[in-house]
Symmetry: D2
């Protein structure tokens, strides 16, 4: 079996393919044949050396993957051989609020999914929706669970509330899709008319081009009769946080997602926060229980992730390059088949 | 102006039409021209003498109504002349949990809506969705707000969860419609194939005929892979509560709605509850804030109440009779136009 | 090493002492030298055959115990040799709401603590407060965690709220002590003046003798100015549930605890519930996360469990008899030392 | 009757005493004889012109006051002549989350309490605890309700959790007292050993002198075994927010209180937030329901506010000067008696 290994800060050049024996599952562990992976911003941040959590030297790359159970260790009760599963990024975070004791993560301090086979503890695994291919399921662990946590983990999202999404990255597209499942209204920002059209076709009720409306929070206010939105899925950091706060209604919620890279300016005036009444939630993906709940929502509504492009396992390096350099719309997938 | 007045236990014969002067609004009060009303089980319980809360002698009948603001008293800021509004049944219950100090209610201890004009305090009023007629908006205050509270006031409803509704009364139909707005799966029970078809067309994912499946909770379990449902909107009391509890998943929620009339048997074995882990919420309609939030959901999703039949103000007595004797599906409305 | 084994319905006569080899911990498992156990109603229900969950034939008895880590398997990170720990009754219930998939329990489907040594998975264990002896810590897993869940797992307990506790069983005494830690007011019921004095010395603000006040819910109402209590820790089932509901304020919460044995009458009139607005929570002990949070509260406030009497490991049978037949006040402990 | 009037930005020189007729209560209004007031930072911010909410020209000063009902208008049901009451700062904010439609406030857009008599709507009033003098009760509306909201309005405070308070301003002292009522552990920061001793005598478990420990968040981490605190009542803005965030445990909560004046530097690096997982709640005092709940806690625990000094109504100007210039510890009160 083959795996791709990385080192923090080693760049794409450091992505190394190695040959191994197929491992055997210990008690309560599961051997998974990985069938597809997806890329997230974290993979690039790790290669650039900006990722804030520990990365084990020579760790198997990539947090997100889905596959098939091919063997189970003694005492495994949650999955059976043949089950189609994905892995939760923080395998020890079962339910309830995040704690640092749960911060071991796939493709970080633990081996990741850019491999043909991997062994995981059974509680790391969740069953994937029947109607999704492995490629589609591989899109879920990081971006979709983060979007789900942003919308449901704090103030619960209700039908009729308004959600603001920023741009068309993975988390934002899932947030848009989930918000529509909940009967919410979605206002999305974007940089081009072409993307605006795609956001609209995904269900966005209103799209604001932030190039032509650099003061887009005013446009959001106008679209909500001055009230502001109930939830922001804030992925932009310093470039957008101030406007996101100003776009939020009293007692609304801004969920902060993602890691800031080496941006030169990442300051915000505290007075922007003090002038409002709201909640800022800094979140980190989500728990196994949230992943399972999300999959129920995806299944019940036969929702499908947006896939931009699929690369083969042999072309993993090309996939990274494409993800790094391109204007993708939807998830970039590596299929092992 | 004319109003219909009632007395507790006086039966339909006691429904009396009287002539009055049009009242004037005091400070912070509003004069409303009522345009439509709707009937709920409470109206019949009052006439039969079974309603548990105090009924003022000779009170103006009916809790549910919608109309148009025709005059405002000094200091009114929330509505203007010409606004289309409905009244909250518990006008003093603004937000937060219910308290007995908020239990004054329209068509009970306070004059109700089966009148051409009425004066209400401004905080009793909520704006109605633009896309609804007065007849449709008059369907909301009791049944829809109760369904909304049942689904959102306790454990928040999430996409992908399963909701069980019982029959096709007002609360159950709204619960079905709201659950679908939230992306939930709905299992509905009913007594006939014809009603089953109508429930399906409203969005029910599965319908169980409880006449052919008297052990319908087993059918619910089967439909959920043995897991049970997350929420039950329990309107049936002694006839259904035990099966509703048995149909519910661990840590699920049964919201108990409505008043039991003089049923002979209303006992339940506590062991049925002790054998589970769940929450029973006994609720009472909902707050003004919940009414407003619900209206946002109705507006954002352009949802419409199901109307069974509309009677004229002059035919109010006929409307009562029809509501009492018929197999309606949807709300029975009295239009003042 | 020696262990006591039981069989469902076999009575106290079936409690059998056996000799075994000391087991070795597998990966992620821990070998515990048990130092003390405590008895709960469940132990008697199992022997009588009334316990509703599965009991493995010849299982090691008793859910509650505390001890010392004497060896750890590969990969164990949460505890070290020498740590003082207790075991969570539902070892797989880590955090979040209860699910049936977590219902494997110590002294039930899993071996229990009435043994000199046992092997447990590391996530079953929680560190015990430094100021508690093993005997005191062994009092916590079932009764204290249940009381903690009752008071904090639903509507969060706040200073100034009123809590009603019933009698002087294990859960009720812990509920009284925890409620006082939170700055709540406590009304307790009891059957004798002598117990009343002990409840008062534990902090109860008011004690009602239910023998002299069989309509004790009226007394509770009177003591709260007619308002009723915010939380009831309901342990009495059919004998008390109706009065507990009537003693509760609007939007208050009744947490139902414990299993009903073969009482002849366990019926309640649904109209009692329908006449109120409140939440009934049927609960089952609590999660590992709740156990840890509770231990923080016990530590911060240097709280100590009430111990009635301590028996030796060799006298376990006598401890069972005493627990079954006596009017204990506080926990009955079996010390292995 | 006499009242003190202010204008935004007019400074203390603008505080003007005027003579009026005693007003009469309209329907649902109450005439209050104010017996005591207290000062808060908002009063100084208004005089300096930095207060962010609208201030009505020539408004009666001061948000906080307590007094005696001397007359009631028609239809008033919640209070009676002779009742001892305080006023809620946002009289229209009854319960539930804050909304801008509730932002009319006493001593701001509405007349305040630095007057001998005032007329208020009945829902603005809450009964004060029996054991408190008017001077003590006048200390509550702004600072105490804010502290209560900070600790209970977001993630509910539990016994055993750790609360961090900053300095010895009004909100911080109440937060310390409330946290101790709840059985929490309190770590307080301060600038002098003398204040440290007073904080300790109020119940603080640990006090850190931030002059000798400018990196006090490290000291907080050390005192919590590296874990960090569960709640911060953050009153310091730019001077402290970064350290407050760094002192907080995963999934903990920082409640931001107060308005920043014209500080030159009020920037924070977003990376400080991104490096954590937590919730920042920007809050604004609290609702009437929170005021009532807080009063229950104060009553049940016979808690008393810390009073620094009491001035007479005639010396109101001196009270302002003292409040502005001095190192008070506890509330500065103006007594009308």
């Amino acid at each position: 079996m083959k795996s791709y290994h990385i080192n923090k800060g080693a760049g794409l050049a450091g992505l190394t393919l190695k040959e191994h024996d197929i491992p055997a599952p210990a008690p309560r562990e599961v051997l998974l044949r990985v069938r597809a992976c997806s890329l997230n911003a974290r993979e690039l941040l790790i290669l650039r050396g900006y990722y804030p959590l520990p990365i084990r030297p020579d760790v198997v790359a990539v947090s997100d993957g889905a596959g098939e159970v091919v063997a189970v260790g003694e005492g495994v009760t949650r999955v059976r051989v043949g089950d189609r599963v994905a892995a939760s990024i923080f395998p020890q975070w079962i339910d309830g609020p995040f704690g640092w004791e749960y911060s071991a993560q796939l493709g970080g301090s633990l081996d990741g999914m850019l491999t043909e086979y991997t062994v995981l503890s059974e509680e790391a695994l969740v069953h994937i929706p029947d109607h999704l291919s492995f490629e589609e399921a591989a899109a879920l662990p990081c971006a979709a669970v983060t979007a789900w946590n942003a919308l449901t983990g704090g103030q619960p999202l209700q039908a009729g509330e308004t959600v603001l999404t920023l741009g068309s990255g993975g988390v934002s597209l899932f947030a848009l899709q989930f918000a529509k499942l909940f009967g919410a209204r979605v206002i999305a920002t974007t940089s081009s008319d072409e993307k605006a059209a795609r956001l609209t076709s995904l269900g966005a009720d209103d799209v604001i081009n932030y190039r032509t409306r650099p003061d887009w929070h005013v446009a959001v206010r106008d679209l909500t009769g001055g009230r502001g939105v109930d939830h922001v899925v804030e992925v932009g950091g310093a470039g957008t946080l101030e406007q996101s706060i100003k776009a939020t209604t009293a007692s609304g919620e801004v969920s902060m997602v993602g890691w800031l890279a080496n941006s030169d300016t990442s300051m915000i005036d505290i007075k922007v926060i003090s002038a409002t009444v709201l909640t800022l939630r800094r979140i980190a993906v989500g728990s196994r229980a949230q992943f399972i709940a999300m999959n129920r929502a995806i299944t019940a509504n036969q929702m499908r992730p947006v896939i931009d492009r699929v690369f083969s396992f042999d072309d993993a390096r090309t996939a990274y390059s494409y993800y790094q350099d391109s204007q993708y719309f939807g998830k970039v997938i590596i299929s092992h088949d």
